[in-house]
């Protein structure tokens, strides 16, 4: 793995060079949260960009770029060809890149058929991951197979040294990009790496302090055997059914297809779907195996912590904490898992 150094002052130039590859999204602080914005060569102080990189995961999950909330996937009788242009996404944390590689890739690239839209985006989009030196109280990646830093999975990774950023090259595509960076990137000093390693160890310690307890190793079995609707009703007592947790979850992958008449033809639209939605399981004739909300709540936990690990050896949760931060009813997924 090749490592280079990005001086703090060169962050705007780094983004400008990335933007030559494709439309570039970078994290910017808005109302105390990092959120993705398109880089337009604006004059934003490097220090502001630097601080945004240090924030926890952006509000939007990475799936927003790769799945999209609504897209046309077919039309007939006239066919259409998809038009997917390269993009660069800077700012994904380990929790998000794992949601792509360990969860979405398993769903959309494996099995009986590939999703051609997702596949093309995975091929064309460049992901620049960033270390997560200051975990928040909602973060629990460490307890669910992750780390507050990413040394794999993306194309480049940015980590924090003494006086700037270390750029690790993680893929051939990433290598090609840094080759064209010219003097934006320089040689990296050993003391920067040493400082980076300290930041990483500090972040891990902080996460362990936030989440002192491990989850039970047999979560799949506990969920399978938790058939008491009272347990699930209690867990969801404060839920107002807003579905925010599912919309911002980087690992939720469900979608629904529907057709709309356009002119003399039909367009097939794929929209992300949410299993808390009352009609999620309904079949023709109106029968609904998930009619009761406590069944739908259990269904979600069953999907993430029972079915997915049994099929793919990994939980469909990366501990990003978005569902905790975004919950109107202040439901904490960690508490539900520990109560099982």
């Amino acid at each position: 793995m090749r490592s280079l150094f990005l001086p703090l002052a060169s962050i705007p130039a780094f983004y400008t060079r990335l933007a030559k590859y494709g439309e570039t999204y970078y994290p910017r602080v808005l109302e105390r949260h990092a959120t993705y914005e398109v880089w337009r060569d604006e004059e934003i102080p490097a220090e502001e960009l630097y601080q945004a990189l240090k924030m926890i995961r952006p509000v939007e999950p990475l799936k927003e770029f790769f799945l999209g909330s609504r897209e046309r996937v077919a039309s007939f009788p006239q066919l259409f060809s998809k038009d997917i242009k390269p993009k660069v996404i800077v700012g994904a944390k380990d929790c998000d890149i794992r949601s792509l590689i360990e969860i979405q890739d398993n769903v959309y690239l494996k099995g009986v058929l590939e999703d051609p839209f997702y596949k093309e985006r995975r091929e064309k989009y460049l992901v620049v991951t960033v270390d997560c030196p200051e975990p928040a109280d909602t973060c629990f990646c460490l307890r669910i197979g992750g780390k507050p830093y990413s040394a794999w999975g993306g194309d480049l990774n940015l980590s924090f040294g003494e006086e700037g950023i270390i750029v690790d090259v993680l893929s051939a595509k990433g290598d090609e990009i840094v080759e064209k960076m010219g003097d934006v990137l320089t040689e990296v000093d050993k003391k920067e790496i040493k400082k980076r390693d300290k930041h990483r160890a500090d972040a891990e310690r902080k996460l362990a302090k936030i989440n002192p307890e491990e989850f039970a190793p047999d979560l799949p079995d506990r969920i399978e055997h938790q058939l008491d609707t009272g347990f699930w009703a209690k867990a969801m007592a404060n839920c107002v059914d807003c579905q925010a947790c599912e919309r911002i979850c980087p690992t939720c992958y469900c979608f629904l297809l529907y057709d709309i008449p356009v002119g003399k033809g039909v367009e097939r639209i794929k929209v992300l779907d949410w299993c808390y939605h009352a009609a999620y399981g309904r079949v023709g004739g109106g029968m609904n195996p998930l009619a009761h909300f406590s069944h739908r709540l259990r269904n979600r936990f069953e999907c993430k912590f029972m079915a997915f690990p049994r099929n793919f050896k990994v939980y469909a949760c990366t501990g990003c904490g978005r569902c905790i931060a975004g919950c109107t009813g202040k439901i904490d997924i960690r508490k539900v898992l520990r109560a099982l």
Partner: protein, 270 residues
């Protein structure tokens, strides 16, 4: 290849089976071949898709039949269509029946209501090589005599040497000369030992539940009970998540799933 794309299919004929069930004879372009047990996603133009298992023989290459009950939005639109109209289909999806396992055994087919439609496809596939099996037992239950599907064909099937047919209706009437009672009554006095055969069932969830219970009581092995677990299958190829049943997805691991794979679930038939 775009798996979300459908191909066109012309409606060649519409056969009225019962007041609420019709068989659509389709000519897909290009032709679509399938194996018994697989399903297709059928589009009612401008309304949307729904999954159906073809009811015709997989050996029939020119056309494909789908028997449909009018129950909801998509099926209501389909019932408005006439011969000459066009709809769209994609597939086939799912895992076929592993009929190689059936060789030399008794094959018991238990259908309830319109649930006989996908079983007819299996039945016709088995007839293609009828001497390979000890005997094919086709047991069918409908609500009333007016709800019996494929009535015209039963007479022909009954004449086939290696086939045994039993039928029942839940509520009898003066025209019905056969058994009266729910479909499980047909399983009384089974003419073969369960260990020498296997059972395939399809019908409404409540019928499947009690049929499975009865088959287990009779001594059928878990892995010899084949059940059509058709849930809300939107994409058809294991991506959209809706038809998950425990660790399985009905669309890609089924829709026909043997009992041993789902018996651990709280209630597989809900």
């Amino acid at each position: 290849m775009n798996p979300y794309e459908s191909r066109q299919a012309n409606i060649k004929e519409v056969i009225v089976e019962t007041p609420t069930i019709r068989t659509f004879v389709l000519e897909p372009k290009p032709a679509l071949s399938f194996h018994a047990g697989q399903f297709i996603e059928l589009t009612a133009p401008g309304v949307g898709e729904a999954p159906f298992t073809p009811s015709s023989s997989p050996y029939e290459e020119e056309s494909l039949e789908v028997t449909i009950m009018k129950v909801g939005r998509v099926t209501s639109k389909l019932f408005d269509l006439r011969p000459g109209d066009t709809l769209a289909i994609r597939g086939p999806y799912g895992v076929p029946y592993d009929i190689d396992r059936y060789d030399g055994r008794h094959v018991l087919i238990v259908g309830g209501g319109v649930g006989l439609a996908p079983l007819r496809s299996l039945f016709l596939a088995l007839l293609h090589n009828v001497s390979a099996y000890k005997k094919i037992h086709l047991y069918y239950g409908a609500r009333t005599s007016r709800d019996v599907v494929y009535d015209r064909m039963f007479k022909e099937w009954d004449k086939i040497k290696n086939v045994e047919i039993r039928r029942s209706v839940d509520v009898g009437d003066k025209n019905w000369k056969e058994k009266v009672g729910v479909v499980t009554v047909l399983l009384d006095g089974l003419p073969f030992k369960p260990k020498d055969g296997l059972a395939v069932a399809c019908g409404p969830p409540i019928m499947m539940k009690f049929t499975t219970k009865r088959l287990l009581e009779l001594g059928f092995a878990d892995e010899d009970i084949y059940l059509s677990m058709e849930k809300n299958m939107s994409c058809g190829f294991g991506k959209c998540g809706h038809c998950r049943l425990g660790e399985l997805f009905c669309c890609k691991d089924g829709p026909v799933i043997t009992w041993d794979r789902i018996k651990h679930l709280e209630d597989a038939f809900v």
